[in-house]
Amino acid sequence: GDSVTQTEGLVTVTEGLPVKLNCTYQTTYLTIAFFWYVQYLNEAPQVLLKSSTDNKRTEHQGFHATLHKSSSSFHLQKSSAQLSDSALYYCALSDRGAEGADRLTFGKGTQLIIQP
Protein backbone atom coordinates (compact mmCIF):
# COMPACT_ATOMS: atom_id res chain seq x y z
CA GLY A 1 0.00 0.00 0.00
CA ASP A 2 0.87 3.67 -0.06
CA SER A 3 2.82 5.37 2.69
CA VAL A 4 3.97 8.89 3.51
CA THR A 5 6.90 9.62 5.79
CA GLN A 6 7.43 12.84 7.66
CA THR A 7 10.66 12.40 9.54
CA GLU A 8 10.25 15.23 12.03
CA GLY A 9 7.49 15.21 14.58
CA LEU A 10 8.43 18.65 15.89
CA VAL A 11 10.32 21.48 14.21
CA THR A 12 11.16 24.71 16.01
CA VAL A 13 12.35 27.70 13.99
CA THR A 14 13.17 31.25 14.92
CA GLU A 15 11.04 33.92 13.26
CA GLY A 16 12.61 35.18 10.04
CA LEU A 17 14.66 32.06 9.40
CA PRO A 18 13.93 29.48 6.70
CA VAL A 19 11.70 26.46 7.22
CA LYS A 20 11.91 23.03 5.60
CA LEU A 21 9.56 20.17 6.40
CA ASN A 22 10.45 16.86 4.85
CA CYS A 23 8.10 14.48 3.08
CA THR A 24 8.86 11.29 1.21
CA TYR A 25 6.47 8.66 -0.04
CA GLN A 26 5.93 5.21 -1.49
CA THR A 27 3.06 4.81 -3.86
CA THR A 28 1.31 2.83 -6.55
CA TYR A 29 0.78 4.01 -10.10
CA LEU A 30 -2.74 5.11 -9.10
CA THR A 31 -1.49 8.12 -7.14
CA ILE A 32 -2.80 11.27 -8.73
CA ALA A 33 -1.94 14.18 -6.46
CA PHE A 34 0.22 15.28 -3.56
CA PHE A 35 -0.75 17.71 -0.83
CA TRP A 36 0.41 19.67 2.13
CA TYR A 37 -2.42 20.23 4.60
CA VAL A 38 -2.10 22.71 7.47
CA GLN A 39 -4.08 22.55 10.69
CA TYR A 40 -4.10 25.56 12.99
CA LEU A 41 -4.97 25.07 16.64
CA ASN A 42 -8.63 24.08 17.11
CA GLU A 43 -9.33 24.34 13.39
CA ALA A 44 -9.97 21.90 10.55
CA PRO A 45 -7.14 20.75 8.28
CA GLN A 46 -7.05 22.74 5.04
CA VAL A 47 -5.06 22.43 1.85
CA LEU A 48 -1.92 24.55 1.74
CA LEU A 49 -0.38 23.22 -1.47
CA LYS A 50 -1.33 20.72 -4.12
CA SER A 51 0.69 19.21 -6.98
CA SER A 52 0.45 16.46 -9.54
CA THR A 53 3.22 17.61 -11.91
CA ASP A 54 6.75 16.31 -11.63
CA ASN A 55 9.47 18.94 -11.10
CA LYS A 56 7.04 21.86 -11.00
CA ARG A 57 7.25 24.33 -8.12
CA THR A 58 3.94 25.08 -6.40
CA GLU A 59 3.56 28.15 -4.19
CA HIS A 60 0.94 29.47 -1.77
CA GLN A 61 1.03 31.84 1.21
CA GLY A 62 4.81 32.11 0.99
CA PHE A 63 5.31 28.35 1.14
CA HIS A 64 6.55 26.31 -1.79
CA ALA A 65 7.06 22.68 -2.66
CA THR A 66 8.29 20.78 -5.71
CA LEU A 67 7.23 17.24 -6.48
CA HIS A 68 10.28 15.12 -7.35
CA LYS A 69 9.16 11.69 -8.49
CA SER A 70 12.76 10.61 -9.01
CA SER A 71 13.39 10.87 -5.28
CA SER A 72 9.78 10.33 -4.15
CA SER A 73 9.78 13.62 -2.28
CA PHE A 74 7.54 16.64 -1.78
CA HIS A 75 9.30 18.81 0.80
CA LEU A 76 7.69 22.02 2.08
CA GLN A 77 9.78 25.17 2.36
CA LYS A 78 9.49 28.82 3.27
CA SER A 79 12.28 31.38 3.11
CA SER A 80 11.27 33.40 6.16
CA ALA A 81 9.12 31.98 8.94
CA GLN A 82 6.37 34.01 10.58
CA LEU A 83 4.83 33.52 14.01
CA SER A 84 1.50 32.80 12.31
CA ASP A 85 3.01 29.77 10.56
CA SER A 86 2.93 27.82 13.82
CA ALA A 87 0.65 24.87 13.11
CA LEU A 88 0.47 21.14 12.42
CA TYR A 89 1.48 20.24 8.85
CA TYR A 90 0.53 17.03 7.07
CA CYS A 91 1.93 15.68 3.85
CA ALA A 92 -0.53 13.49 1.96
CA LEU A 93 -1.02 11.71 -1.32
CA SER A 94 -4.26 10.92 -3.11
CA ASP A 95 -5.16 7.73 -4.95
CA ARG A 96 -8.28 7.19 -7.01
CA GLY A 97 -10.01 3.90 -6.43
CA ALA A 98 -11.90 1.86 -8.98
CA GLU A 99 -15.16 3.36 -7.73
CA GLY A 100 -13.88 6.85 -8.54
CA ALA A 101 -13.36 8.11 -5.01
CA ASP A 102 -10.13 9.78 -3.95
CA ARG A 103 -8.46 8.30 -0.89
CA LEU A 104 -5.88 10.29 1.02
CA THR A 105 -2.91 8.73 2.78
CA PHE A 106 -1.40 11.05 5.38
CA GLY A 107 1.96 11.25 7.04
CA LYS A 108 2.10 11.43 10.83
CA GLY A 109 2.36 15.20 10.79
CA THR A 110 4.99 17.76 11.75
CA GLN A 111 4.27 20.29 14.47
CA LEU A 112 5.93 23.56 13.45
CA ILE A 113 6.62 26.08 16.17
CA ILE A 114 7.90 29.52 15.26
CA GLN A 115 9.55 31.29 18.15
CA PRO A 116 10.28 35.04 18.41
Binding site: F35, A44, V47, Y90, G97, A101, R103, L104, F106, K108
Partner: protein
Amino acid sequence: GGIITQTPKFLIGQEGQKLTLKCQQNFNHDTMYWYRQDSGKGLRLIYYSITENDLQKGDLSEGYDASREKKSSFSLTVTSAQKNEMAVFLCASSILGVSYEQYFGPGTRLTVL
Protein backbone atom coordinates in the same frame (compact mmCIF):
# COMPACT_ATOMS: atom_id res chain seq x y z
CA GLY B 1 -18.51 28.06 -0.76
CA GLY B 2 -19.77 25.55 1.72
CA ILE B 3 -19.31 24.25 5.19
CA ILE B 4 -18.99 20.96 7.05
CA THR B 5 -20.67 20.74 10.44
CA GLN B 6 -19.83 18.06 12.98
CA THR B 7 -21.85 17.30 16.08
CA PRO B 8 -21.19 17.10 18.90
CA LYS B 9 -18.00 19.09 19.23
CA PHE B 10 -17.05 17.20 22.40
CA LEU B 11 -18.23 13.69 23.28
CA ILE B 12 -17.61 11.99 26.60
CA GLY B 13 -18.54 8.36 26.91
CA GLN B 14 -18.22 5.36 29.17
CA GLU B 15 -16.33 2.16 28.43
CA GLY B 16 -18.44 -0.19 26.31
CA GLN B 17 -20.90 2.48 25.29
CA LYS B 18 -22.11 2.90 21.70
CA LEU B 19 -21.48 6.47 20.56
CA THR B 20 -22.63 8.24 17.39
CA LEU B 21 -20.99 11.17 15.67
CA LYS B 22 -22.73 13.17 12.95
CA CYS B 23 -21.51 15.13 9.96
CA GLN B 24 -23.38 17.43 7.58
CA GLN B 25 -22.06 19.17 4.45
CA ASN B 26 -23.65 21.71 2.13
CA PHE B 27 -21.04 21.56 -0.63
CA ASN B 28 -23.30 19.09 -2.48
CA HIS B 29 -20.26 16.80 -2.63
CA ASP B 30 -20.71 13.14 -3.58
CA THR B 31 -18.05 11.58 -1.41
CA MET B 32 -17.78 11.81 2.35
CA TYR B 33 -15.12 10.47 4.70
CA TRP B 34 -14.46 9.78 8.36
CA TYR B 35 -10.91 10.00 9.71
CA ARG B 36 -9.46 9.43 13.13
CA GLN B 37 -6.73 11.80 14.28
CA ASP B 38 -4.34 10.69 17.01
CA SER B 39 -1.36 12.71 18.13
CA GLY B 40 1.76 11.46 16.40
CA LYS B 41 -0.17 9.07 14.14
CA GLY B 42 -1.63 11.38 11.56
CA LEU B 43 -5.08 10.95 10.04
CA ARG B 44 -6.32 7.46 9.35
CA LEU B 45 -9.31 6.64 7.18
CA ILE B 46 -12.15 4.79 8.92
CA TYR B 47 -14.98 4.76 6.36
CA TYR B 48 -15.94 6.60 3.23
CA SER B 49 -19.03 6.78 1.06
CA ILE B 50 -19.24 7.73 -2.60
CA THR B 51 -22.99 8.26 -2.63
CA GLU B 52 -26.13 7.88 -0.53
CA ASN B 53 -26.40 4.40 1.01
CA ASP B 54 -22.88 3.46 -0.11
CA LEU B 55 -20.18 2.45 2.40
CA GLN B 56 -16.53 1.62 1.84
CA LYS B 57 -14.15 0.47 4.56
CA GLY B 58 -10.95 2.33 5.23
CA ASP B 59 -7.84 1.12 7.00
CA LEU B 60 -9.28 1.53 10.50
CA SER B 61 -12.88 0.32 10.18
CA GLU B 62 -12.81 -2.33 12.92
CA GLY B 63 -14.79 -1.14 15.92
CA TYR B 64 -16.82 1.33 13.88
CA ASP B 65 -20.00 1.43 11.83
CA ALA B 66 -21.09 4.15 9.45
CA SER B 67 -24.27 5.27 7.74
CA ARG B 68 -24.83 7.58 4.77
CA GLU B 69 -28.44 8.55 5.28
CA LYS B 70 -28.54 11.10 2.50
CA LYS B 71 -26.12 12.93 0.27
CA SER B 72 -25.49 15.68 2.79
CA SER B 73 -25.02 13.59 5.93
CA PHE B 74 -22.68 10.85 7.12
CA SER B 75 -22.74 9.30 10.59
CA LEU B 76 -20.09 7.31 12.41
CA THR B 77 -20.77 4.96 15.32
CA VAL B 78 -18.18 3.76 17.79
CA THR B 79 -19.62 0.33 18.52
CA SER B 80 -17.96 -0.14 21.92
CA ALA B 81 -15.94 2.70 23.35
CA GLN B 82 -12.56 1.70 24.76
CA LYS B 83 -11.52 2.90 28.21
CA ASN B 84 -9.08 5.84 28.22
CA GLU B 85 -9.58 6.33 24.50
CA MET B 86 -8.99 9.88 23.32
CA ALA B 87 -9.05 10.97 19.71
CA VAL B 88 -10.43 13.54 17.31
CA PHE B 89 -12.73 12.34 14.55
CA LEU B 90 -12.71 14.39 11.38
CA CYS B 91 -15.31 14.34 8.64
CA ALA B 92 -14.41 15.38 5.10
CA SER B 93 -16.06 15.60 1.69
CA SER B 94 -15.01 15.87 -1.95
CA ILE B 95 -16.41 15.80 -5.46
CA LEU B 96 -16.39 12.32 -6.99
CA GLY B 97 -13.98 11.84 -9.84
CA VAL B 98 -13.30 15.52 -10.46
CA SER B 99 -11.42 17.12 -7.61
CA TYR B 100 -8.64 15.52 -5.61
CA GLU B 101 -9.12 17.93 -2.73
CA GLN B 102 -10.97 17.00 0.44
CA TYR B 103 -12.59 19.61 2.67
CA PHE B 104 -12.59 18.93 6.39
CA GLY B 105 -14.92 19.68 9.26
CA PRO B 106 -13.74 20.98 12.64
CA GLY B 107 -13.86 17.59 14.33
CA THR B 108 -15.43 15.81 17.28
CA ARG B 109 -13.18 15.24 20.26
CA LEU B 110 -13.91 11.92 21.97
CA THR B 111 -12.95 11.09 25.54
CA VAL B 112 -13.81 7.74 27.09
CA LEU B 113 -13.76 7.50 30.86
